[in-house]
C-alpha cells in the first residue's frame, strides 16, 4: 500500500524513455520533479559516464527507502548495484516495477540505513585558524602563530570543483547558493563589527555634503549618518562577491569568521545596512537593478529539459545574465575504431542517438551506399521514407510532451506521450487514424488559452547559417534535405515553412510536420510493405554483399527530425576507415548561450526546449 504512488527519477530522461517505447505512466509511475520526491531511480539503456555520475548524485539526494531499477544498463559505477534489473522493454519496466513495489512495501526507512556517498559528492574538511587565514592544514590542531584551536571548514578547491562541474541538481546549486546566503548574512555581521571600531566623521549616504563629527541623523532626509570613509570598507567588502569559495567556510557571521579579521583591518563602519552601500558594486542587470548573481545548474536530469543536457545559468534575480550549455552524454565518436566492418558501423551509428536511431541508421546506410556505388531499389526507398517519417512524427510528439512538462500542461503530456507510444508500437493501419488525431491535437493546442502568449516572441532566431531542420523552417529558411529526394518528390512532398522564428512558430512547424509525416508514411507504406519501425528490414540488411571490398568515399545527407545530418565515410576494402559526422544539435547547442542571455528564467527554459536539442547527437565528435 505504501508503494502505490511511485515517483521516479529516470535516467537518461522521459524523452529517451518514450523513444524507447517505455511508458511509466501506464504502470502508475509519475516522473518526479526532483530526486527529493522520488522513491525509485530507473535507468534505461547504456549510460555514458557523466550521466551515471549525475544519476549517482540524484540517488544520493533521494530520501530512503529508495530503489534502483536498471533496464538494460550494464555499467553502474559510481552508482551502487541495482536492486532490480530487467530488459529495456515495456514488459521489463512493468515487471521491474512490480518487484520495486514489493521491495518498498516491505521496507520503511530505518535511521540505521546505510548512507550512500559517491566519491563525486565527497567533500574535504580542512582546518584553519580564525585569526590567521593563511594557516590551513588537513588535520585538527593548534595554530603555529597564535596557538588557537583550529576550526574545521569545508575545503574549497579541487573537490568542490568536481562538484560544480559534474553535478546536476540540488547539491551543486546548494553550494553556489550557499555562498550567496552566507555572503548576505555577512553584511549584517560586518555592519555590527564596524560600529565598534568608531570613525571620526559621519556623512549621509544620500547627501554627501552633510559631514559631522557625531553619529546622528541627516538634517535633509532623516537617514542615519554613516562613517565618512565607509565607502572604502563597503567597497572591498562587496568585492568578495566573485570569490564564493572564500565563504564556503562552514561558519556563521557571529562566529569567529575568517572574514572578521579583514573587517577589523578596514576599520570602517556603518550604523545600519544601507541598500545603496551594500549593492553599489554589484553587477547591474538588464533592468539596471544591482543584484547578487548565482550560478544555477539546470540539468542533466531536469524535468523541463532533455535528459543529458546541462544548462548553467547565471541568474540575476530570475533573469539570465549569462548562460552556458553542454551535454553530459559524451564524448562519443562517430567511428570509435578505424577499420570497422560496414554492418557494425551502421549499428554503431544507430546507437549514437537513442532519440532517433532510424535516422542515423539510414544516414550510415546511405553514406556506405554512396561510397560503394550501390543504389537501393525504389521499393526500399519508400520503406525507408516511411520509417524515417514515422520517427519524425514520434520525435516531434516527444518534443510536445517535453514542452508540456516544462510549462505545466498535464493533459498535453499524457496525450502526446500516448500518441507517441501508439505510433512506436502501432502498425501501418493505424497511421491514417493517427494523422486525423494529430490534426485534432493541433486544433486543441491552437485553442489552448494563454499558450500563444507564453511562447510568442520567446527565443526568436533570425535566419542564420547555424539553423537547421524545424528551427530553420520556423525562421523562414527553406532548408530541408528531403526536397532533393526523388522518393519524396514522387509523393508530392513540400516542406513546412513559417515566418517568425520564435518558440511559438517552432511549435506550429512541428505540429504541421507531425501530420504531414504521418500522411507521407501512410502514402509510402501503402505502396510497399508496412514499414516496421526501426528494423533492418525497412532500411536494408544485406549491406555486406553490396559493399564487398569496395574502396572509395561517400557522403550522405539525411533530414533527421532535428535537421540535416551529414555523414562522410571512407571505405577501404569493405572497412570504414574514416568517418565525419555533422549533426544539427551540435550547431544548435552553440546558439544557446547568446539566445538565453537576458531572458527571464521561465522564458529561457522554454527557448532552450524549443530548439529540441538532442544531447546525444550534440556530443558526437
Amino acid at each position: 500500500m505504501l508503494a502505490r504512488d511511485l515517483h521516479a527519477v529516470t535516467v537518461p530522461g522521459p524523452d529517451v524513455f518514450s523513444a524507447l517505447g517505455l511508458d511509466p505512466g501506464a504502470v502508475g509511475v509519475t516522473y518526479a520533479a526532483t530526486p527529493r520526491h522520488a522513491q525509485v531511480l530507473v535507468l534505461a539503456g547504456p549510460l555514458p559516464p557523466e550521466l551515471r555520475e549525475a544519476a549517482a548524485v540524484a540517488y544520493a539526494q533521494m530520501p530512503r527507502p529508495r530503489v534502483i531499477l536498471a533496464l538494460g544498463t550494464q555499467e553502474f559505477s559510481p552508482l551502487p548495484d541495482p536492486d532490480v534489473t530487467g530488459p529495456a522493454s515495456h514488459d521489463g519496466l512493468a515487471q521491474g516495477l512490480r518487484r520495486v513495489r514489493e521491495l518498498l512495501s516491505r521496507h520503511a526507512f530505518s535511521p540505521e540505513a546505510r548512507a550512500f556517498e559517491p566519491a563525486v559528492l565527497a567533500t574535504r574538511t580542512e582546518y584553519t585558524c580564525p585569526m590567521h587565514p593563511e594557516v590551513v592544514q588537513d588535520e585538527p590542531g593548534t595554530c603555529p602563530k597564535c596557538g588557537m584551536e583550529l576550526v574545521a571548514r569545508e575545503a574549497s578547491g579541487s573537490s568542490d570543483e568536481t562538484h560544480h562541474h559534474t553535478i546536476s541538481h540540488k547539491d551543486a546549486s546548494a553550494h553556489d547558493d550557499h555562498a550567496q546566503h552566507e555572503h548576505r548574512d555577512d553584511h549584517g555581521g560586518h555592519a555590527e563589527n564596524r560600529t565598534a571600531e568608531g570613525a571620526t566623521s559621519y556623512t549621509c549616504p544620500m547627501h554627501p555634503e552633510i559631514v559631522q563629527d557625531e553619529p546622528g541623523r541627516c538634517p535633509e532626509c532623516g537617514m542615519f549618518l554613516v562613517p565618512a570613509d565607509s565607502d572604502e570598507g563597503a567597497g572591498s567588502d562587496t568585492g568578495h562577491a566573485p570569490s564564493h569559495a572564500h565563504h564556503q567556510a562552514d561558519s556563521h557571521p557571529h562566529d569567529h569568521d575568517p572574514d572578521a579579521g579583514e573587517v577589523h583591518e578596514h576599520g570602517a563602519g556603518m550604523d545600519f545596512m544601507s541598500m545603496v552601500e551594500v549593492t553599489k558594486d554589484l553587477p547591474r542587470g538588464r533592468d539596471g537593478l544591482p543584484m547578487d548573481r548565482i550560478d544555477v545548474p539546470f540539468g542533466p536530469l531536469f524535468p523541463g529539459l532533455p535528459g543529458g543536457l546541462l544548462l548553467t545559468l547565471t541568474l540575476a534575480g530570475d533573469v539570465v545574465a549569462r548562460a552556458s550549455a553542454r551535454t553530459l552524454t559524451g564524448p562519443r565518436s562517430a567511428l570509435p575504431e578505424p577499420g570497422m566492418p560496414a554492418a557494425r558501423f551502421i549499428e554503431h551509428l544507430a546507437s549514437l542517438d537513442p532519440l532517433t536511431p532510424t535516422a542515423y541508421r539510414l544516414l550510415a546506410r546511405r553514406a556506405l551506399e554512396a561510397a560503394s556505388g550501390s543504389t537501393p531499389s525504389a521499393h526500399q526507398q519508400r520503406a525507408r521514407l516511411a520509417a524515417a517519417e514515422r520517427e519524425r512524427a514520434a520525435s516531434h510528439l516527444g518534443g510536445l510532451a517535453q514542452l508540456a512538462r516544462q510549462v505545466g500542461l498535464p493533459w498535453l503530456e499524457r496525450r502526446a506521450t500516448r500518441f507517441q507510444l501508439t505510433l512506436i508500437h502501432g502498425d501501418h493501419d493505424a497511421l491514417a487514424l493517427l494523422a486525423r488525431q494529430s490534426v485534432a491535437l493541433r486544433t486543441r493546442l491552437e485553442r489552448t488559452p494563454l499558450l500563444a502568449a507564453r511562447l510568442m516572441h520567446v527565443g526568436a532566431l533570425s535566419p542564420a547559417d547555424g539553423l537547421r531542420g524545424p528551427v530553420a523552417r520556423a525562421a523562414g529558411m527553406t532548408t530541408d534535405a528531403r526536397t532533393h529526394d526523388p522518393a519524396y518528390a514522387e509523393l508530392g512532398f513540400e516542406p513546412v515553412l513559417h515566418q517568425g522564428g520564435d518558440a511559438l512558430t517552432r511549435l506550429h512547424v512541428r505540429l504541421e510536420e507531425i501530420t504531414r509525416s504521418l500522411r507521407l508514411a501512410e502514402a509510402a507504406g501503402t505502396l510497399t510493405m508496412p514499414a516496421d519501425f526501426d528494423t533492418h528490414a525497412a532500411i536494408g540488411d544485406a549491406i555486406g554483399d553490396a559493399i564487398g571490398d569496395a574502396i572509395g568515399d561517400g557522403q550522405a545527407v539525411v533530414e533527421t527530425p532535428r535537421g540535416e545530418a551529414c555523414l562522410q565515410v571512407y571505405l577501404d576494402g569493405g572497412l570504414v576507415t574514416r568517418a565525419r559526422l555533422d549533426t544539427p544539435s551540435a550547431g544548435h547547442l552553440t546558439l544557446l548561450p547568446e539566445l538565453l542571455t537576458d531572458l527571464e528564467l521561465g522564458d529561457a527554459l522554454v527557448a532552450a526546449g524549443s530548439l529540441d536539442i538532442s544531447p546525444w547527437e550534440a556530443s558526437v565528435s
Partner: protein
Amino acid sequence: MSVLAPILALLLLAWCVAVLDAWMTTGRFRPLAPLTATLALVAGESLVPRKPDRLFFETAPILLLLAAVLAAAALPIAPHLVITDLATSALFVNAALAYVLVALLMAGWGPDGAYAMIGGWRFLGQTIAYSMLIVMPITAVAMRAQSLLTTDIVRSQAGLWNVLYQPLGFALFFVAAMAVSFLPPFDLPTASGELAGGVEAEYTGARRAIFRLGRTILIVSLATATTVFYLGGWLGPWLPPWLWSALKTLAVAAAMLAAGHAVPRLREAHLLAWAWKAGIPLAMLNIFLVGVLLLVIP
C-alpha cells in the same frame, strides 16, 4: 461552538480536494490516495539539506498550515459552525493569508538551495500581483453587507448571491484565490518544469507531508472564502446548511483545479502586467458599480 467540528470539516474537505487533485492530474480516482501518500511520506526519510537555515526550514511548513487554518477560522460553514466569529473577520481572512507569503519565503530561503530560493522570491512577486485583487473585491462584498462579519456577509446574499450581484468581483477574487494558493497556472514558486519543485523541492518525509497538508487546506480555505463571499455560503433549500457549504466549497475547488489544468503556467512578467494594468482597474470599477447599485437599489 466547539473548535473541533470546523477543524474536522476542514480536514474532510482537504481530503476530498486531495482526491480530486490526484484524479485530475493522473486520471485515476482513488479515494484512499491521501492516506497512502501520507503514510508513504511519514514512513520515508525526512532529509535536512546540508546547510539549512534551520529555523526557517523547520518553521515554514508549519506556518503555511497555520496561515491556512487561521484563514479558515473566520469563515462560517453553517450559521453557528465557525471557529471564531470576529467583528472584522473578512479582514482577518486577508490578514491570515498574508502569512502564506512569509511561509513560502521562509521555505525558499531555509533549505539553502537555488531552486527553492528563486521559488520563494517568485512568490514575493506573485503577491504583489494578487494581493490587491484579494482586498478590493472583499471591500465591495463588505460594502453590500455593511459589515465585515463573514456571517453577515452570507446573510446579505439571501436575496441574490454576490456572484450575480457583482460578477466582476467574483471573477477577480476567484483568479486571485488561485494565485494565493499557487495553483496552476500560478504555480510559479513550485513549478516542476522550471524549478524542479521550487520551494517544495527540498522538503521530504514528514516535513513534506505537513507542507502538502498546509497547501491543501489553503486551497480549501480559499474555496470556502469564495463560497462565503460570493456563493451565499450555507444558503440553499432542502439540504442542511453545512452540506450546502461543503458542496459549494468542493465545486469551487474543483473549478480552480480544472481551470489550472487547461492553461500553461503564466510568465511572471505577464502576471504582474495583467494584474496591475487590467485587474486593479477592473476591481476599482467593481467597487464603483457596487456603490452605484447600493445607492440606486435601497
